[in-house]
Amino acid sequence: MLSYILRRLLLMIPTLLGISLVVFITMAAAPGGISSQALIDDFGLNPQEKAALQEYYNRRYGLDQPAPMQYLRWLNNVSPIGFELREDGSFGDFSFTKGADLGDSFRYGRKVTDLLAERLPITLLLNVLTIPVIYLVAIVVGVQAARDRGGSFDVTSSVVMLALWSVPTMLVGVLLIGFFANDQYWHWFPTSGLSDRQALDMPFLPHWSSFGDVLRFFGAALGGLWLATLVGRWPSKTVRTLAAVLAAVALTVWMVSALPGGGAAWVYLVAGVAIGLPLLGLARTDYRAFRIGGLGLLGLVVGGAAGAVWMEGDFVRGFLLDRLWHLILPVICLSYGGFAFLARLTRSAVLENLQSDFARTARAKGVPEQEVLWKHVFRNSLLPLITVSAGLLPGLLGGSIIVESIFSIDGMGKLAVEAVTGRDRELVLSIALIGGFLTLVGYLLADILYAIADPRVSYD
C-alpha cells in the first residue's frame, strides 16, 4: 500500500508539470501576454515612472525574457532542487537544498506562500463544513428514493433533486443575500465576510447576561423541537397536514409582518406558498425518519429564533456563534448542488444493489430488511459514491469561486478571480498548482477509500 501511495505521489509530478504548462501557455499566448507593460498599463503613471517600474518588474521577475525562459525560470524557482537565484536575477550554482519558492505576487508584492497560507484555510473550512452536509442529505434522500422506487417519494425527490442541481449557484446566492441579509427584507444574516469586526474581541463561546435568558433561549428551542417531533411522530396524516398548514400560516404571517413596510396581499400569497409547500411535503411524506428529522430541525430553528427574540438581557454571541452565523448562507449555497447530484447517484447505486442476488439471498435467509439495506446493500453502494467524491473536492473549489465572490469571503476563490483579472503570473500558476494538487490528492484518497470499503480491491 505504501509503495502504491508513493508511486501515485510521484506520478503526480508530470501531471502537475502539465497543469502549469497549460496555464502558462494560456497566459503567454494571450495578446499582451505577461509583460511588465500589461501589468502597469492601468496605473496612470507618467513616462519616467512607467519606465522605472517596468525596469523594476523586468529585473525582479525576468519579464523581459522570452516566454520559454520565463517558464523554466519559474520552474526552477518552484522545484526544491535547481539553480540558486542571485539577487540580480542571474542564476548561480546548482543546489539540492535551495528549497521551493512560489515567488512573489505582482499585485500584492507579497510572498505567494503567505497569501495562500492566509486564504487556503478559509476555503478549506467552507468545504469541510459542506461535505458532511452533502453526504448526509444525499444518503438520507437517495437511499429512501431507491427503496421507494416509482413511489411518490421517489418521483418527487428525483424531480426536486434534478431541479436543485440545475439552479445556478449565483442565483441562490443573490436571492439569499437579497432576501435574508438585507434591510429591505429580512436582515437575519450578515451580508458579507466571515466575522463581524466586534466579534474578534468577543470571547469564544456565547454569553448570556442572566440565567433567565439561558432558560428562555434553550427552552424555546427545545420546545420547538419537541412540538415539531410530536407532529412528526403523529400517525394520522390528516392531523399532520393540519398542523403543517397552521404552522405555515403562522410562519407566513410572522415573516411578512416583519417586513419593513408590511406586505401586500400577493406577498402573503407568494410567501405562504413558498413556506407551505415544503412544509406540507415534509409533513405528509411516509418516510418517517426524514419527516421527523426535517420537522425537528425546523422546529429547533424556529424555536431558537423565537427564543432569541424573547431574551431580555444583553447577549454576547461570541466568536464561534458569530462565525457559524456568517457561514450558514455560504454553506447552503455550496452544498445544495452537491447533494442534489449525489442523491441521484446514491439512488441509482442502491437501486442496482437492492435487486441483486446477494440482497435476495440475505432476505431469503431471514435477515431483517433494515440490516439487508444498511449492511449488505448500502455497503456495496458506497463504491460509486467514493468514486464521485474524488470529483467533489475540485467541484467545491470551483464553486467557492462563485460563493466567495458573492459573500465577499477572502478565500482561495476570490484570490483566484483577483489573480486572473490582475494578470498576476506567479499567483495564477500557484493557484492552478494548488488546485491541481488538491484534485489529485482527492483522486488518491478516493482510491485508498475504495480499498478500505471493498476488500476485493488491493493495490499491492
Partner: protein
Amino acid sequence: MTDLERKAGRRALRHKRYAARILRTTFRQWGARLGLLWIGIVAFVAVFAPFLANSRPLLVSVDGVVSSPVVEALGAADVTWMVAFVTLLLTMLLPIGWGKRIVVVLLAALASASLAPRWFQPPTLVVHEHHREQVARGAYDWQVFPPVPYSPRDYLRDQGDTGFQPPSRAHWMGTEENGADVLSRMIHASRIALGIGLVATGIAMVIGVIIGGLMGYFSGIVDIVGMRLVEIFEAIPTLFLLLTFVAFFGRNLYIMMIIIGLTGWTGYARYLRAEFLKLRQQDFVQAAIAAGASTPSILFRHMLPNGIAPVLVAASFGFASAILAEATLSFLGLGLVDSPSWGQMLNQAVRSSAFNWWMAIFPGGAIFLTVFAYNLIGDALRDAIDPKLGGSRAA
C-alpha cells in the same frame, strides 16, 4: 462488394430505427417533453428576438405608404439566426439523417453569416425614441409595435428617469439601473445562451470525439499520452481554467464559445474511449479492418455510430453546463461587455446598491429553466439508451 454495401445499408437502416426508438422512449416522459417545449420556446424567442422586442414598430404607414422599420434595421446576425432556423425546419421535412441535417444547417448558417453583411447593413446611428416621438407627433397613420416595444439598449431617455422600476404594465419585468426594459434584454440575451450552448458543446464534442476515438482505437502509447492530457485538463478546476482563459484572451462572444469548448471536452473523450476500447474487439470492426477499410472510415463510419450514445447523453448535459459557464463568467464580471446576457444581468442585480428582486429572479430563473430543461432531456435520454448508465457521469 455489393453484398457488403447492402449489409452496410441494412445496418444504417437498423441504426436509424434504433435512433428513432430511443427518441420515442425519451420523449414519452413528460419531463423530457416539458424540457423540449421550453428549449423550443427559447429557440423561437432567440430567432425572432428583433420582432418580439424592439423600439421600432413592426409596420408603420406614412401617408398611405406602409414600411417596416424593424426589417430595415435587421443586422447580419439576425438574418443568420433566421436562415439557420428556417433551414432546420425545412430539413425536418426531408427524410435525411441527423448528421446530414446538422451539416446542412451549419452550411446555411455559415453562408448567410458571410453573405448577409453585404445586404443587411443596419444604420449605425440609432435613435431609440425616434419612433415614439413620431407617434406622439402623429406622423404615422397607424403603426404596429412589437409585443415589447423597447430595444435592449433603449434607455428610455425621453421618459425621464426610468431606472429600477418594479414590474408594471409598461415594463412587465421592470427596468434595470439605466432604465432599459429587463424583458427586452432577456429576450435578446436568449440568443447568447442558446448560441453558446450549441457552439461550445459542438466544439467540445468534436475535440473529445477525435481525441477519445484515437485513444480508444489505437490504445497503447496514444492512449497513455491522451489520458495524461485528459487528466491534466480535469485536474485544473474548470472554472479556474475558464477564468484564466477569459481574463487573458478578452471577452468576445466567439472567444467565449471556443474557450468553453476547449475546457469541456474531457468527458466526451473519456466516454468515447471506453466505448471504442470495447468496440474494437468486436467482429464487425475486425471485419472492416480485414476488408481493408481506411482508418478514418473504420473510426467514423463503423465505430462512431455504435459508440456515440453516451457522448450524446453527455452532450445534453453539456449544453446545460456551457450555459452555466457563460452565466458564471458574466456574473463574475468577465463576460461579454457589449451585449446583455442572462449572467451579466444577474451581475447587474448584485452591483446595484439596493436589492431589486426583479433584476435577479427573471434572468436567474431563465438560466435555471434552460439548464433544467437540458438536464431533463439528458436524464430521459440516458434512461432510454441504457438504464445502467445512470450515475456514471462523474463531475
